[in-house]
């Protein structure tokens, strides 16, 4: 039982426990903080998988941003009698049953694939080594530079291994990076945030009750 296994099991239990607590608990504030625990553990699992940048982004954007947004939403909407809105007992049992069956289906499908064969073909951190050569010593999780370069449409993990010859016509083709999706997402974020601010602007509350 190595340290990686220990750490994985610890954070897997925290993740699953947090997720189940979100699904089960009745108080929406407890749900929010179970979500914090769950997403934080997912960030640690990203770090364990050697995805440092993604793990840090998960912490900053999801836990430090989206969940804070949700908690503000809770403060603004779930005041007083609305903090605990209960589902009826039959609903809870039925949804639990459906959840268990769904989990069984998904997990048997996923574990039926022999991932070992695919994993054997990948050296540990191969893409990270190729992209980092000469700048930083190879290290698991050293993904910042390759990710940044891929957003500038330079695929360091693929193009640095190009042979000198190129294809039949002697043209070495470079793979396209993620520059276009990056720009689209940037503009998308701007539009979405302007729209959300406009939608959520302070208006006079409806005078009549439901």
């Amino acid at each position: 039982m190595s340290v990686e296994t220990l750490l994985f099991w610890l954070f897997a239990i925290l993740t699953c426990g947090g997720a189940i607590s979100v699904a089960v608990s009745e108080s929406v504030v407890r749900m929010a903080f179970s979500l914090v625990l769950c997403l934080g553990s997912v960030a640690v699992m990203f770090l364990l998988l050697g995805a440092d940048f993604v793990g840090a982004t998960q912490l900053m954007v999801y836990v430090g941003g989206t969940v804070v947004l949700l908690v503000f939403g809770i403060m603004l909407t779930a005041t007083g009698p609305f903090t605990k809105i209960k589902s009826s007992g039959a609903d809870a049992i039925l949804s639990g049953l459906v959840g268990v069956i769904f989990l069984f289906i998904v997990s048997t499908t996923v574990t039926a694939v022999r991932w070992d064969d695919v994993s054997q073909r990948v050296a540990v951190g191969a893409h990270q080594k190729a992209a980092s050569h000469g700048f930083n010593p190879e290290q698991q999780g050293n993904t910042t530079r390759p990710l940044g370069l891929s957003f500038l449409s330079i695929r360091a993990d693929r193009d640095l291994k190009l042979s000198a010859g190129g294809d039949a016509n002697g043209v070495a083709s470079l793979s396209s990076g993620y520059l276009l999706p990056f720009e689209i997402v940037s503009i998308h974020l701007l539009v979405v945030l302007v729209g959300a601010s406009y939608l959520a602007r302070a208006k006079r509350r409806a005078a009549t009750s439901q």
Binding site: T5, F46, L49, I85, V110, V185, V192
Partner: protein
Amino acid sequence: MEAVGPNPFLFVGAVLFVCGVVCMTTKRNGIGVLMGVELVLNGASLNFVTFSRFTPLGLDGQVFSLFVIVLAAAEAAVALAIALNFYNNHLTIDVDRGDELHG
């Protein structure tokens, strides 16, 4: 990691996904439904990063995860704005009360 293969990570992703779906379907609080959506998206991005690590998917999995995180944040902002409008109009966040279009 050689010690832990992809299957345990994929199982955790599946648990996250299922909990998110159960949350989306059973919660009456609108914000609770949003939390279910976040869980579903996290299960998917955990799968992406697992495949990035254990299969020749490579860097693409992590890039997809980044995009998922960013787009989920944007979607949470809009969904929250809608939830606030719902609250302002109905004076409750209970989504079962939103039945004006009920046939």
